[in-house]
């Protein structure tokens, strides 16, 4: 079971509280987790990655195991701690700065 933490606005949009749990078949990659997430919550299609290109939206970041996975290729396997459900995969809105 993969644990996914969504940012506030996407939790509201998906109408969920707390973490989301997903069944994702191996290999558990960034792309596979996002596929599973959008499959379960179609309202999130287009909000994390572009509908057509599937590129990550510029101000969305991916964190896991205290590391930034945002710039990794979508097919990159996630750490075993994530695949085992010990650590969540975090989808984060980038800091606004200013």
């Amino acid at each position: 079971m993969i644990r996914v933490v969504l940012p506030f606005h996407l939790r509201n949009l998906a109408r969920v509280d707390g973490e989301v749990e997903l069944d994702v078949a191996a290999p558990v990659t960034i792309c596979a987790v996002l596929d599973g997430l959008e499959n379960k919550f179609p309202v999130l299609c287009g909000t994390i990655r572009d509908h057509g290109t599937l590129k990550r939206r510029p101000f969305v970041r991916f964190f896991a195991c205290k590391e930034d996975w945002s710039l990794e290729a979508p097919a990159t396997p996630l750490p075993e701690a994530v695949t085992r459900g010990e650590e969540p995969f975090l989808i984060v809105g980038a800091m606004a700065g200013g």
Binding site: F8, L13, V60
Partner: protein, 388 residues
């Protein structure tokens, strides 16, 4: 007893203001979609309980929301449990999918080079006058989309971008289709206005479009002041009984056309400034129009710090200030292009919102005003539904 519902889009959510036909006591609900930018909400004339909303965010992009109960509850179109199953049992989730039709194409970029179209957000949603499931959406970068399934999916009317779009060039505020007017007497005729693009009309339901800018002059914005495209049209309006008569608030200049945009003539007259954003028409008087003068393109606040709506009862040219109930000193708000609307009661109500978070209403054609909501986030849009 009639009821008025005012739909307010703001920088941090949507608000719905309701009152009976007296328009004295207002109830405020919201924020709906708290924290999101709501560029526009508009109700269907064919089904007043059907309201479309454009919800967007710099982080998470564009969302379309729909209410079928007058704004009490909202859903992204197509997201009921049954609707989420496509042909292969896989959810579609395409209500926020705005993809340019065919080759994306290029417009002029700030540095004068060709730049590919990039979808950013929906500025304006214009529901069909006759079918609740049909609506048009004005996009940045400039394009018009249409849904015929209640917002579940959208398709571009790509003919608009055949109208010399290679010469359109974004201004400082971007390049968006921000105004869509439907001709109530001719369903094939649609007008759109584009910031830094101009004004366009289709007579075949959206297949072919042509610029309608003859008579516009932009000497400080364009190298050719009378160019066919590129004028920064801020807003156009029409009265449903006389849809061939159009009124325009341009970057500078207030204008009118008596022949569906074939020719425009300036009617700025005695306005203290002919720069501004919104323009609207009194529902009961097709020649009575309203603007909110703003000091200049460099100073986006009212002249002399006095918030004044100006009314012409002769279709332009002669203007009178309307000030009762509006702040007449130290007022430095702006009123954005989509932030004025009128109701359809016998004594026409006028409403507008400010970037300072006030929504003002007049129940007597503009003679006097009251703040019907205050301290909201900056107001992007105001629309009115008259429920009878």
């Amino acid at each position: 007893m009639s009821k008025i519902r005012v739909l307010v889009g703001t920088k941090k959510g949507a608000f719905i203001l309701t009152a009976d036909g007296q328009r004295k006591d207002w109830k405020v609900s919201g924020p709906h979609f708290a924290g999101w930018e709501i560029y526009h909400l508009k109700g269907s004339a064919a089904d007043p309980n059907r309201i479309y909303a454009s919800q967007s965010s710099g982080w998470f992009g564009q969302i379309i929301q729909r209410s079928d109960d007058g704004g009490k509850t909202w859903n992204t179109p197509g997201s009921t449990a049954e609707e989420l199953k496509g042909e292969m049992g896989f959810p579609k989730g395409e209500s926020n999918k705005f993809v340019y039709d065919g080759a994306v194409g290029k417009h002029l970029w700030y540095d004068g080079t060709p730049h590919p179209w990039e979808f950013k957000r929906i500025w304006h949603i214009e529901p069909s006058l006759t079918d609740p499931d049909t609506a048009f959406a004005g996009a940045e970068d400039a394009a018009i989309f249409k849904t015929t399934d209640g917002g579940k999916s959208w398709k571009e009317l790509a003919g608009l971008r055949q109208a010399k779009s290679q010469l359109w060039q974004p201004g400082a505020g971007g390049m968006a289709v921000h105004t869509i007017l439907l001709d109530p007497k001719n369903e094939k005729r649609i007008y759109v206005a584009i910031s830094a693009g101009g004004c366009f009309r289709t007579d075949d339901g959206g297949k072919n479009w042509k610029p309608i800018t003859k008579g516009l002059k932009s000497p400080f914005e364009l190298p050719d002041p009378a160019a066919e495209v590129g004028h920064c049209v801020h807003r156009i309006a029409l009265h449903p009984s006389k849809p061939d008569v159009l009124f325009m608030q341009k970057h500078w200049d207030v204008l009118r056309s008596d022949n569906a945009g074939e020719q425009w003539n300036e009617v700025s007259g005695n306005l203290p400034s002919d720069f501004g954003f919104p323009i609207d028409v009194n529902f009961n008087a097709p020649e009575t129009i309203y603007v909110v003068p703003i000091t200049s393109d460099s100073l986006h606040y009212p002249p002399e710090g006095k918030l004044r709506v100006y009314r012409s009862q002769s279709g332009g040219g002669d203007w009178e200030p309307l000030t009762r109930g509006l702040p007449q000193k130290n007022c430095y708000v702006n009123v954005l292009r989509d932030a004025m609307a009128v109701d359809q009661l016998d004594e026409c109500g006028i409403y507008f919102g400010t970037t300072g978070g006030q929504v003002y209403g007049s129940a007597n054609g503009g003679n006097s005003w009251t703040a019907i909501a205050e301290h909201l986030p900056p107001v992007y849009s105001v629309e009115v539904q008259t429920l009878k």
